[in-house]
């Protein structure tokens, strides 16, 4: 299996109707660990994640995986801030990516049931997914993203709307994935979460990467004024 990383973005931009949403971005993501993308609201965290993942159009610049892009995209997962639930049962939702890949119904269901149990949804396999609570939906979304054994998963503020208990469970799942060797790229505005999970940090400001570096160094003493203000809790526009 060829390596996915490093992922190199050079002058990468995404535009909509002529307006630059994010970029130009120059960034290199190495293999392993958790990269946390932080920045004020509207700084372009979600768009950057989508750009790196390939769901947002690359309007300018280059974005190169260590292997072929199409091949790389087969090994990626994405978890949204507001999880999208298919109008199916819990187990069918989790099994969906396997079914897309041609795994038989019974085998896919078996694996999905295992993942459901792993994320604490084992007792509600046949319940409609749209009837779950926010935390349960997010756990389902994680199980659905991880069931295909992806090598990298992009997570867009997965705990933004969750209470403390649900956040703790989701973070534990992310930690497990990291230990299993899955590369995580996580957008968050929760600095506590960044401290708990990050190996390295990308600080975004006004659609551009203002600062990157190891989490410990960044959190101890950011170099840019915007990052310093953000960490102080000031309002950063």
């Amino acid at each position: 299996m060829s390596d996915l990383f490093p992922l190199c973005a050079r002058g990468a931009e995404t535009r909509r109707r002529g307006r630059v949403l994010v970029g130009p971005v120059d960034l290199t993501l190495e293999a392993g660990g958790v990269t946390v993308v932080i920045g004020p609201n509207g700084s372009g965290k979600t768009t950057l994640l989508r750009l790196l993942h390939g769901t947002a159009r690359l309007s300018a610049g280059t974005l190169d995986w260590a292997c072929d892009t199409e091949e790389a995209r087969k090994h990626l997962g994405f978890v949204f801030q507001r999880p999208v639930m298919l109008r199916r049962s819990v187990v069918q939702n989790i099994a969906y990516p396997l079914r897309l890949r041609g795994v038989g119904r019974a085998k896919a269901r078996g694996q999905a049931a295992e993942w459901a149990a792993r994320v604490g949804l084992g007792q509600m396999l046949d319940r409609p997914a749209t009837g779950l609570s926010g935390g349960e939906m997010q756990k389902l979304a994680l199980a659905r993203a991880f069931i295909t054994a992806p090598r990298a998963v992009f997570l867009d503020e997965p705990t933004a709307a969750l209470d403390g208990a649900a956040t703790r469970e989701i973070e534990a799942l992310m930690q497990e994935a990291k230990e299993d060797g899955v590369r995580l790229i996580l957008a968050t505005h929760d600095m506590g979460q960044a401290r708990r999970l990050a190996d390295d940090v990308v600080f975004l400001h006004q659609g551009r990467v203002a600062e990157t570096g190891p989490a410990e160094a960044f959190l101890a003493g950011p170099e840019t004024a915007a990052a310093q203000a953000f960490l102080r809790g000031d309002i950063v526009e």
């Binding site: 993942h53 769901t55 995209r73 087969k74 997962g77 994405f78 949204f80 999208v84 298919l86 109008r87 199916r88 990516p97 897309l100 319940r127 409609p128 749209t130 009837g131």
Partner: protein, 234 residues
């Protein structure tokens, strides 16, 4: 008012005595409409799904045309199909004019835009809900369409039932291409038109009540079988 009561009584009598003529034209009505419905759905559902997921230059125009065609006058459809199937027409060699097959063809042309438009509304809404997820999963267009069609199956059932309602009550087109021939192409609606023309209002009303009961029974039966109203289902 007297005619209405007489019609009800006649309908009751025709049904309880299992009148052979009534059974024959009722079964023919069902056969023609259900066949047309299956063919029209097989065309309309994938078309609606494709219009929901694929972006192309003439997409909006295509949707507008499809919506406009919902109001396609059946008599005009009947006339065009008649010309195409008549002995001097391009498909005259098949000898389909004045047969149930011609009636099915006309009904398919009438039903496809209706079913596709109603289905497209549901599939478009579902696509806006699923868009980000399916794009992030690198799903092929065919898989997107399959997913939408499966997850919107109850809404599609409603679209198909709307098509059934339109088809079973249709008279203009099938009168022209079927010819209302006794024991060959006569169906409930054309029989009603015939009996009204003859002045036998009671029989016409009787057939009309049978037609209404049939439409209701198929709708209720489909909902019951599909369990569309069952709690916790979509």
């Amino acid at each position: 008012m007297t005619d209405l009561w007489a019609g009800l009584a006649q309908a009751f009598w025709l049904v309880v005595t299992l009148d052979p003529d009534l059974m024959e034209i009722t079964l023919r009505s069902l056969r023609v409409t259900l066949t047309a419905l299956v063919i029209a759905s097989a065309i309309a559902f994938p078309l609606a799904a494709l219009l929901a997921v694929k972006r192309f230059r003439a997409r909006r125009f295509t949707i507008a045309v499809l919506n406009a065609l919902m109001g396609l006058p059946p008599v005009v459809v009947g006339l065009i199909v008649y010309i195409l199937l008549s002995r001097s027409g391009p498909f005259g060699v098949f000898g389909l004019l004045f047969t149930p097959s011609a009636m099915i063809i006309a009904q398919v042309i009438i039903l496809v835009p209706l079913i596709a438009s109603v289905a497209h509304q549901s599939l478009r809404d579902l696509w806006s809900e699923y868009h980000d997820l399916l794009i992030s999963m690198n799903v092929t267009r065919w898989q997107k369409m399959q997913t939408l069609l499966w997850d919107a199956r109850r809404a599609l059932l409603t679209a198909a039932l709307a098509g059934f309602g339109r088809g079973i009550g249709e008279v203009g087109a099938i009168m022209i291409v079927g010819g209302n021939i006794d024991h060959a192409t006569r169906v409930l609606t054309t029989a009603i038109a015939l009996e009204t023309g003859r002045g036998d209002f009671a029989l016409a009303l009787g057939l009309g009540f049978v037609l209404i009961a049939l439409a209701l029974a198929v709708n209720l039966g489909t909902h019951w079988l599909g369990r569309t109203e069952r709690e916790g289902r979509w």
